[in-house]
C-alpha cells in the first residue's frame, strides 16, 4: 500500500492503495465514481476513458503509481448540470442507446475538442477509433462532435 495524492474533478484526493491497482477500479470501487466503465481490461474498447492531465487515457491499464500529483477528470467531472458542449450535443442528437460506452465516447470527444476545436471527419475517426459502441451509435457520435464544436465556438464568440 502506498499513499497516492491526486486531483480528481477539481478536488484533492489522497488514498492508500496498491501502486499497481488500475485507476479504473479505484474510481469505481474505492471512490464510488461508477460513471467510468469496465469493458475489456486491455485498453481496446475505450469504455474506461478518463482525462489524465488533459489527455484521454484508458484507466483500466493505468496503475495508480502514474496518478500521483496528477489531474484526473471523469465523466462526473465533465459538468454536473449537463452544460458541457459535448453533453449538450449528445443530448441534442440523442446519441446514446444502451449508453454503457458513452462516458468513454464523451471523454474522448471532449479531449479531441480541446486539442482540435474544429475537427474534420478524419480527425474524428482518428480520435474515436479506440472507442467501441456495440449499439452502433458512431454516426451520431460523429455528428455530435461536429455539433459540440459549434456549440463551443458560439459560446466562445459570446464570451
Amino acid at each position: 500500500m502506498k499513499s497516492v495524492a491526486f486531483n480528481l474533478n477539481g478536488s484533492p484526493v489522497t488514498i492508500d492503495v496498491e501502486p499497481e491497482k488500475p485507476l479504473l477500479w479505484v474510481l469505481r470501487d474505492d471512490l464510488g465514481l461508477t460513471g467510468t466503465k469496465y469493458g475489456c481490461g486491455m485498453a481496446i474498447c475505450g469504455c474506461c476513458t478518463v482525462h489524465l492531465e488533459g489527455d484521454a487515457i484508458r484507466s483500466c491499464v493505468t496503475p495508480m503509481s502514474r496518478i500521483e500529483g496528477k489531474h484526473v477528470r471523469t465523466i462526473e467531472g465533465l459538468s454536473s448540470d449537463l452544460s458541457h458542449p459535448v453533453q449538450r450535443a449528445w443530448m441534442d442528437l440523442q446519441v446514446p442507446q444502451c449508453g454503457y460506452c458513452q462516458p468513454g465516447q464523451m471523454m474522448s470527444a471532449a479531449c479531441l475538442l480541446v486539442q482540435n476545436p474544429n475537427p474534420t471527419d478524419n480527425d474524428i475517426t482518428d480520435a474515436m477509433s479506440g472507442n467501441l459502441c456495440r449499439c452502433g451509435t458512431y454516426q451520431r457520435v460523429r455528428k455530435a462532435i461536429h455539433h459540440a464544436a459549434e456549440i463551443a465556438a458560439n459560446k466562445g464568440a459570446r464570451a
Binding site: E18, K21, P22, W25, R28, D29, D30, G32, L33, T34, G35, T36, K37, Y38, G39, C40, G41, M42, I44, C45, C47, T74, I75, E76, L78, S79, S80, L82, Q87, W90, M91, Q94, P96, Q97, C98, G99, Y100, C101, Q102, P103, M106, D121, N122, I124, T125, M128, S129, N131, L132, C133, R134, C135, G136, T137, Y138, Q139, R140, V141, R142
Partner: protein, 724 residues
C-alpha cells in the same frame, strides 16, 4: 449447491418445471387491472392498475415492464400509457416493474424482453391500461363535481369539466379514483388526438447516460457487499477437477473460493482483488468429454448433416418439389450454399449480477432480459417459494439476447449463499466472450427450379442449424425442431408456386442461443444472396427481378422507397456498385441499398440507404437510431466478427480478436421510415442487420462479379476501408 451440477441443468431445469404454463394461457385482464403490491407503497400513492400510480402529491408513476437496453422501451411504452391517460409527460415518473403476471408479454404469457416484440406485444394492453385509468379519474372527478362523466375530459394531467372549465389535478382525485371499479373495455383515444405517440421524445433516462449517473447492473452496490470473479471450464461443458483454496487465501482482500457450475469463483472485498487472486488460483479442469470440438470438426458435422437424408419437412407449399427431384421438371435448376458464422453477443457491459441470499429469501439486482426465468430458476435451485425470490432490474449495457439467459444470475446466488453476504459477480471480458452462448453457425442450401425466363417456379431450402431457443424458451423446442432457426423461410413474400423447407436440428458441443436477428440473420443472408444470383442468371436488374416476384403492398413500398432514396436507377460513379436486399423480419419490412467500391480486396462503403416499415412509427427518432445501429452491427457481422473453436475451447477472447464495427467502418447511413398503420406494428431492435449483410455481398458481386457465400468476409481476405 454442488459444483457438479452442470450449467445446462441450471439453464433448463426451471423451464422443464415451469414450461407447462408458459403456453396456451390467455391473458387475464384482471391481473393487469389489479394493482401490483409486491413492495409497500407510500400511503398517499394510489395504484389505479398494475401500470399507473398517482399520488395525492400529484405524482404520476408509470410502470416500465420491459428491460431498457438501448432500444428505447422505457420511453416508448410508458408514452403509450401517458398518451391514453392524458398525463403531463414532462412530469411523469417511470418505475421499473417487478416480476408479476401483470407484466408478462400477452402473446406468450411470459415476462421477458426480446424477440423485438415489446412494442407489438404491449401496445394494445398499455393503451387499454392508460385509458382505463383515465376513465377512473374522470369518474372520480365527475363524482366530486356531481356532474355526468360525459361532461368531463382529461388533459395534461388534469380533469376538466367542459361546461364550467373547472379543473382537478390527477392528484386531487387519485385516492377516490383508486377505489372505483376499473373499466375493462375503456374508450381509446383516437389516433388523430395523439400528442406523444408519433413524435420523437427525449429518452427518459437520457440525462443519466450523459453524466455517469445511469445505474447499470455493474454499478449496483449494497453496504457490506463482496465481489466475485469467476472462471469457467475453458473447454465447453468441462468441470473443475481440483482447486487449491489455500493458494489464494492470503492474497489481499480475498474472502473465499466457491465452486460454481462448471467453474470456480474467488470472492474478495473488491473486484480487482478477486480478479487478481483468480489469476493466481491453482485450479484444474476436466474437459475431456468435449475437448475434440473444433471449427474444422463442426464444419464436418454441418456438411455430414447437409449430405445426409435425415430431414424434417417444416414447410410444404404447392407441389413442394424436393431439390433432388427438380432436374427434368424445370428447364433450369440452380443450387447454392450459404454459411453464416458463430457470433458472440459481446455486450459492452460484461455479464454481471448482484445477489443477496439468506435462508429465507433471495434478492437479485441485475441487467436482465429474462427476469421471470431468473425468478423460476432461483426458486427451484434454492428451494424457496416464488414469493421469496425478488428480482430487480437495472439498466442493461446492451442485451442482444444474451441477458435472456440466467447463468450469471445463478452464479451470483450460489456465491452469495456460500459466503452469507451480498455478492456482485462480474465476468471479465475474456470470460464474457469465451463463455458466451453463441449465435449458432448455419448452413443453408437453396435450390430453385426455373422457367425459361429464369423466374423461379419452385424453391427448396435445406437448413442445418443448432438450437436457438433451447436455453431461453425450451417449450418451443422439440427433438428435431426449433422455430427460431426457420425464421424468414416460413413466411416469404416472394411469389413462388412450389416451396419447401427441410430442417436438420444439429446437436453440437458448444452452447448456442438467441442473438440479435436470431434465425432471420443467417436465413435472409442466404435467401437474399440467392435471389440476387437468380436475378443475375435471368439477366435482370436485382430490383426489377425482386419486384416481379413481390405482390405484397408493404414489400413493394419499402422496395420503392429504398430504390428512390438510394438513386438506384441513376448510374453509379465509375467503379462504384450497389447491392440491394429486402425482407420482412420481426413483423417489419426492411430494405437496404449499399453503395461501395473495391480495390485490392479493400472495400470502401460510400453510403447505405435503408427503408423501413414497422407500422405506425411510435417514436421515429428511436426507430431511426435503432436501425442505424443495427446497420452498423451488420457491418461487423459481414466483415469482422467470427467465433471459432479449437480443442473444445473458444479461440477468441477479447475485442482484439473478436472484432466488432468501429467508427472508421461506419459510412453515412440514411434511414427512411415508411409511414404505416398501428394495426401492423413491427419490431425494430433486431431487424437492422438482417438486410444490410446480403446487400453488402450483393454489392460486392455487382462490383467484382465475385460472389461470397460464407461469412465473415475477412475469411476471403476482404477488409473494410475507412469510411472517413
Amino acid at each position: 449447491m454442488s459444483g457438479e451440477v452442470s450449467r445446462r441443468f441450471f439453464l433448463t431445469a426451471s423451464l422443464a418445471a415451469g414450461g407447462g404454463f408458459l403456453i396456451g394461457y390467455s391473458l387475464s385482464p384482471v391481473s393487469n387491472l389489479a394493482p401490483n403490491s409486491e413492495s409497500p407503497l407510500p400511503l398517499d400513492d394510489f395504484p389505479l392498475n398494475a401500470w399507473v400510480r398517482i399520488s395525492s402529491r400529484d405524482e404520476v408513476t408509470l410502470i416500465s415492464s420491459q428491460s431498457e437496453m438501448g432500444q428505447g422501451v422505457m420511453t416508448t411504452l410508458p408514452a403509450i400509457l401517458a398518451e391514453e391517460l392524458c398525463a403531463d409527460w414532462n412530469r411523469v415518473k417511470i418505475e421499473i416493474s417487478t416480476v408479476a403476471p401483470a407484466y408478462r408479454n400477452p402473446r406468450i404469457n411470459w415476462q421477458f424482453t426480446g424477440n423485438s416484440e415489446s412494442t407489438t406485444g404491449f401496445f394494445e394492453l398499455l393503451r387499454t391500461m392508460g385509458a382505463s385509468a383515465r376513465e377512473m379519474l374522470i369518474q372520480a372527478a365527475a363524482n366530486r363535481w356531481n356532474v355526468p362523466n360525459e361532461e368531463c375530459y382529461a388533459e395534461n394531467g388534469r380533469i376538466v369539466h367542459r361546461q364550467t372549465q373547472r379543473t382537478l389535478k390527477f392528484g386531487d382525485i387519485a385516492e377516490a379514483a383508486a377505489k372505483l371499479t376499473p373499466s375493462q373495455s375503456p374508450k381509446l383515444k383516437p389516433e388523430r388526438d395523439w400528442k406523444l405517440l408519433g413524435k420523437p421524445l427525449r429518452r427518459v433516462e437520457l440525462s443519466s447516460k450523459l453524466n455517469g449517473s445511469a445505474d447499470f447492473g455493474i454499478d449496483f452496490t449494497l453496504p457490506g457487499m463482496l465481489y466475485a470473479a469467476v472462471m469457467q471450464s475453458p473447454v465447453h461443458g468441462g468441470m473443475v477437477s481440483s482447486f487449491n483454496k489455500e493458494s489464494v487465501m492470503n492474497l489481499p482482500g480475498v474472502i473465499d473460493v466457491v465452486p460454481i457450475p462448471n467453474g470456480i469463483a474467488v470472492v474478495a472485498k473488491q473486484y480487482w482483488y478477486a480478479h487478481q487472486a483468480l489469476k493466481a488460483l491453482k485450479v484444474e479442469f476436466d474437459g475431456k468429454a468435449n475437448s475434440a470440438t473444433s471449427t474444422a470438426i463442426l464444419d464436418q458435422q454441418y456438411r455430414t448433416a447437409l449430405n445426409g437424408d435425415k430431414w424434417k419437412a417444416v414447410k410444404t407449399e404447392g407441389d413442394a418439389v424436393r431439390s433432388n427431384s427438380m432436374t427434368g421438371k424445370f428447364p433450369q435448376v440452380f443450387t447454392q450454399e450459404y454459411e453464416s458464422q458463430f457470433l458472440a453477443h459481446a455486450t459492452m457491459e460484461p455479464m454481471n449480477c448482484t445477489a443477496s441470499v439468506t435462508d429465507e429469501s433471495c434478492t437479485v439486482w441485475g441487467p436482465l432480459q429474462g427476469p421471470e426465468l431468473a425468478k423460476l430458476t432461483l426458486s427451484g435451485m434454492l428451494k424457496l417459494p416464488l414469493e421469496k425470490v425478488y428480482i430487480n432490474r437495472t439498466l442493461l449495457g446492451g442485451g442482444f439476447g444474451r441477458r435472456l439467459l440466467v447463468d450469471f444470475v445463478v452464479q451470483a446466488a450460489i456465491i452469495s449463499k456460500a459466503v452469507g453476504k451480498p455478492v456482485k459477480v462480474i465476468w471479465s471480458r475474456e470470460e464474457d466472450i469465451q463463455h458466451d452462448v453463441y449465435r449458432p453457425a448455419t448452413l443453408n442450401q437453396i435450390s430453385a427450379g426455373l422457367n425459361e425466363s429464369g423466374r423461379p417456379a419452385a424453391i427448396a431450402h435445406k437448413v442445418v442449424s443448432p438450437s436457438i431457443l433451447q436455453f431461453v424458451y425450451a417449450p418451443a423446442v422439440t427433438e428435431d425442431n426449433d422455430p427460431s432457426c426457420l425464421e424468414g423461410l416460413m413466411e416469404s413474400h416472394y411469389e413462388i408456386a412450389s416451396q419447401r423447407v427441410d430442417f436438420k436440428l444439429l446437436k453440437i458441443g458448444v452452447p448456442t442461443s438467441v442473438l440479435r436477428t436470431t434465425g432471420y440473420g443467417p436465413n435472409i443472408f442466404a435467401v437474399e444472396s440467392f435471389i440476387d444470383e437468380l436475378a443475375f442468371k435471368a439477366g435482370k436488374d436485382p430490383y426489377e427481378f425482386r419486384r416481379g416476384l413481390l405482390k405484397n403492398e408493404r414489400s413493394l413500398e419499402v422496395l420503392e422507397t429504398v430504390v428512390s432514396q438510394s438513386d438506384w436507377r441513376k448510374k453509379a460513379a465509375r467503379g462504384v456498385a450497389r447491392g440491394l436486399a429486402y425482407t420482412e423480419a420481426f413483423r417489419t419490412h426492411i430494405a437496404h441499398v449499399v453503395e461501395l467500391s473495391i480495390k485490392d480486396n479493400l472495400v470502401t462503403i460510400h453510403r447505405i440507404t435503408c427503408a423501413v416499415d414497422c407500422g405506425f412509427p411510435l417514436d421515429p427518432e428511436i426507430i431511426r437510431n435503432s436501425i442505424e445501429g443495427g446497420t452498423v452491427w451488420g457491418l461487423g457481422v459481414a466483415f469482422k466478427s467470427n467465433i471459432t473453436f479449437q480443442d473444445g475451447r473458444t479461440v477468441e477472447s477479447n475485442f482484439h480478436n473478436y472484432q466488432i464495427a468501429q467508427m472508421q467502418d461506419t459510412p453515412p447511413i440514411d434511414v427512411h421510415i415508411v409511414n404505416g398503420s398501428t394495426k401492423t406494428l413491427g419490431g425494430t431492435g433486431e431487424v437492422g442487420p438482417v438486410t444490410v449483410v446480403p446487400a453488402i455481398t450483393n454489392a460486392i458481386f455487382a462490383a467484382t462479379g465475385k460472389r461470397y457465400r460464407s461469412l465473415p468476409l475477412s475469411k476471403h481476405g476482404l477488409k473494410l476501408a475507412s469510411a472517413a
